[in-house]
């Protein structure tokens, strides 16, 4: 495993939530990997299991949720069975996190400088002066104007977009190998969103950091990701290079998902053409259909889909879990 070039490897990961009425399987045997400097987009609708997957990788699953199978490796080292204390040292140092709401990721009672310096000193063990210099350099790198003045401001003195930049700086403090970004632009306006996407992309490239970008927004994925994993009902429906998934999807769910996204059209005749609809809704966790989880909504399903679960198989450059490509 030592020679493995991948930063993150997830194999057959399953996550369950025991409840009084039985175990709910939120994630059901998914596998993927991320290379250095690569952005892997994880896309899916609410309840697909994408955020739970991110939480499992960073060791922050909310109890009673737990990993019930499979393994997670960071640079070849298994991290899913680490103790609480060991995981705490991995978190922040080797895995950084960016969440949706920048206000809840920052402590309102400390200046952003204090928060950056504390994080840098904890993980890198450097002197206060050196940590402050590094904090200033980070703020400059994420595009905060006049960082010398802004470093002593409190989070509430920043706008939403600037706050998310500070959160990105915090995640980068210890030069992590992997960043988990869970809906990093969802709380932001479109014009700010575009700026944050560009920043994330640039940082991943320059630092060789692997990024797991979790979002429901296919547009964000198309702009940022190198590869994309489409999740449905706790499973990976399709995974492949972003161009191939976006423009030539194989799995009927991905095809439906892409068709249902409104796109700006200039031609007038098409202006009011109806959007592609996927009938129904994603199943609840306690009622996941047997066989392929998507079969009740799929317009191409046949008998085998109802009983046998498809495993991901190569379809061109993509992997798709669909019996159509048997």
């Amino acid at each position: 495993m030592g020679a493995a070039p991948m930063i993150l490897e997830v194999k057959n990961l399953s996550i369950e939530f025991p409840t009084r009425r039985g175990k709910l399987l939120a994630v059901d045997g998914i596998s993927f990997s991320i290379a250095p400097g690569e952005v892997l987009g994880v896309v899916g609708e609410s309840g697909a299991g994408k955020s739970v997957t991110g939480a499992a990788v960073i060791g922050l699953l909310d109890p009673p949720g737990r990993i019930s199978g499979g393994e997670i490796r960071l640079e070849g080292q298994r991290i899913d069975d680490l103790s609480h204390d060991e995981m705490r040292r991995v978190r922040g140092r080797r895995i950084g996190a960016i969440f949706q709401d920048p206000l809840t990721s920052l402590n309102p009672l400390y200046t952003v400088g204090e928060q950056l310096v504390e994080t840098i000193r904890t993980h890198l063990g450097v002197e206060a002066g050196e940590a402050r210099d590094r904090a200033l350099a980070l703020l400059r790198e994420v595009g905060i104007p006049a960082p010398e003045a802004r470093i002593d401001h409190y989070p509430h003195q920043f706008s939403g977009g600037m706050r998310q930049r500070v959160v990105i700086a915090l995640a980068l403090c210890a030069e992590p190998r992997l960043i988990i970004a869970d809906e990093p632009t969802t709380a932001l306006d479109v014009s700010i969103q575009a700026q944050i996407i560009q920043l994330l992309k640039k940082l991943a490239r320059e630092h060789g950091t692997a990024v797991m970008l979790i979002t429901h927004d296919m547009g964000v994925i198309a702009e940022t990701a190198d590869r994309v994993a489409v999740m449905y009902a706790g499973r990976v429906a399709e995974i492949g290079p972003v161009r191939d998934v976006v423009r030539a999807a194989s799995h009927p769910y991905t095809v439906g998902l892409m068709g249902s996204i409104p796109k700006i059209r200039i031609a007038s005749a098409k202006m009011h053409a109806p959007l592609v609809q996927i009938e129904g809704a994603m199943p609840r966790l306690n009622a996941i259909p047997p066989g392929c989880a998507f079969h009740p909504r799929c317009n191409k399903s046949f008998d085998r889909c109802k009983t046998e679960r498809p495993e991901p198989r190569a379809v061109g450059p993509n992997l798709a879990a669909c019996w159509l490509y048997e």
Binding site: E45, S46, S159, G161, M162, D189, V190, S191, I192, Q193, A194, Q195, I197, Q198, H216, D217, M218, G219, V220, A222, E223, V242, R243, V246, R247, G256, L257, G259, S260, I261, P262, K263, I264, R265, I266, S268, M271, H272, P274, L275, V276, Q277, I278, E279, A281, M282
Partner: protein, 328 residues
């Protein structure tokens, strides 16, 4: 012309408490959420308002349906002024013809009511029917119209998904037999595949019932699918009004161009785009002159001092000195 707004403005008093004002000498502070907006909505069309958060689009929706009273200006519905609070009783009959669909289907349905009561409420309140059998028949028909089953009327809102709840909201809005619907971000709380279902339903209902929509959204791609004409707002003012086709093919105002450039390129065509810069300024102290000038690549001295008016040229209007002077 079904709806006409003429120089409508709404300011909110966001001053500090009286004691602070006395002790600290801080002045009264007004937030001009909507600042002199004029536009018309034609019968049977979908007019969309787009803009980023805080641009005043939801305030306009609330002004039109009467949830806020305007601080200045006139709102006319079918030729009658409805914005005068003194004349509320006289305009009540007109107001029945408009209904609103809200953004969050989890907050806008009463969790303690059965769906049939939620949908029947406008019928009862407006006195459209009093016979229980007649009301039940009408509710069943409405539920079927939005793609639910009549039996769903017996259930409570928590038994439905977000998309189904939004269908219930639409059934409730339609139950008063309105001809004008104000839709405030009706799909932004929904997943994309469900959003597609709701947008298609709204288009279909419009064709079947001859409805007029005022559609408010921050998402230009959604708007391009439903709108006939579009108004773009920035910091409480309209900066551009145009036919949907025209707006996307030839955006005039620099802010509209910036918004279009910020839309992710889903087709991955690799089209050339100018990177977006800056952020929306604080609405409490908007920049002088054109509010967009600090972010505008075409701004000059005039833009910094003189506020541009919305000027019509044929079917399109824009509030920009550079466009007026043919500089861009």
């Amino acid at each position: 012309m079904l709806l006409r707004l003429d120089d409508v403005g709404r300011a909110f008093d966001v001053s500090r408490p009286w004691l602070n004002r006395v002790i600290e000498g801080s002045p009264r502070q007004l937030l001009h959420a909507v600042d002199g907006v004029s536009f018309e909505v034609r019968k049977g069309e979908t007019f969309a308002l787009v803009g980023e958060s805080g641009c005043g689009k939801s305030t306009i929706a609330r002004l039109i349906v009467g949830l806020y009273a305007p601080s200045r200006g006139r709102i006319e519905f079918d030729g009658v002024q409805i914005s005068d609070p003194e004349a509320r009783a006289a305009t009540a009959r007109l107001r029945r013809r408009m209904q609103m669909i809200f953004q969050d289907p989890y907050a806008s349905l009463n969790p303690r009511w059965r769906v049939r009561d939620i949908v029947a409420e406008p019928i009862r309140v407006l006195g459209l029917a009093s016979d229980p059998a007649e009301i039940a028949r009408r509710v069943a028909e409405l539920l079927r119209q939005v793609g639910l089953a009549p039996e769903d009327g017996e259930k409570y809102p928590h038994e439905f998904s977000g998309g189904q709840r939004q269908r219930i909201s639409i059934a409730r809005a339609l139950s008063g037999s309105p001809d004008f619907l104000v839709c405030d971000e009706p799909t932004s709380a929904l997943d994309v595949s469900v959003q597609a279902q709701i947008l298609n339903l709204m288009t279909e209902l419009q064709a079947r019932l001859g409805l007029t929509y005022l559609f408010i959204s921050h998402n230009l791609a959604v708007v391009s699918h439903v709108a006939d004409r579009i108004g773009v707002m920035y910091l409480g003012r309209l900066v551009e009004i145009a036919d949907a086709e025209e707006l996307f093919a030839r955006p005039r105002h620099p802010y509209t161009r910036m918004l279009l450039d910020a839309v992710p390129d889903l087709e991955m065509s690799g089209r050339q785009r100018t990177p977006v810069a800056g952020e929306v300024p604080n609405p409490l102290s908007p920049p002088p002159g054109c509010a967009f000038h600090p972010r505008c690549p075409h701004a000059n001295a005039r833009c910094k001092s003189e506020r541009p008016d919305l000027i019509w040229r044929g079917e399109t209007a824009s509030a920009c000195h550079a466009v007026e002077e043919n500089r861009i």
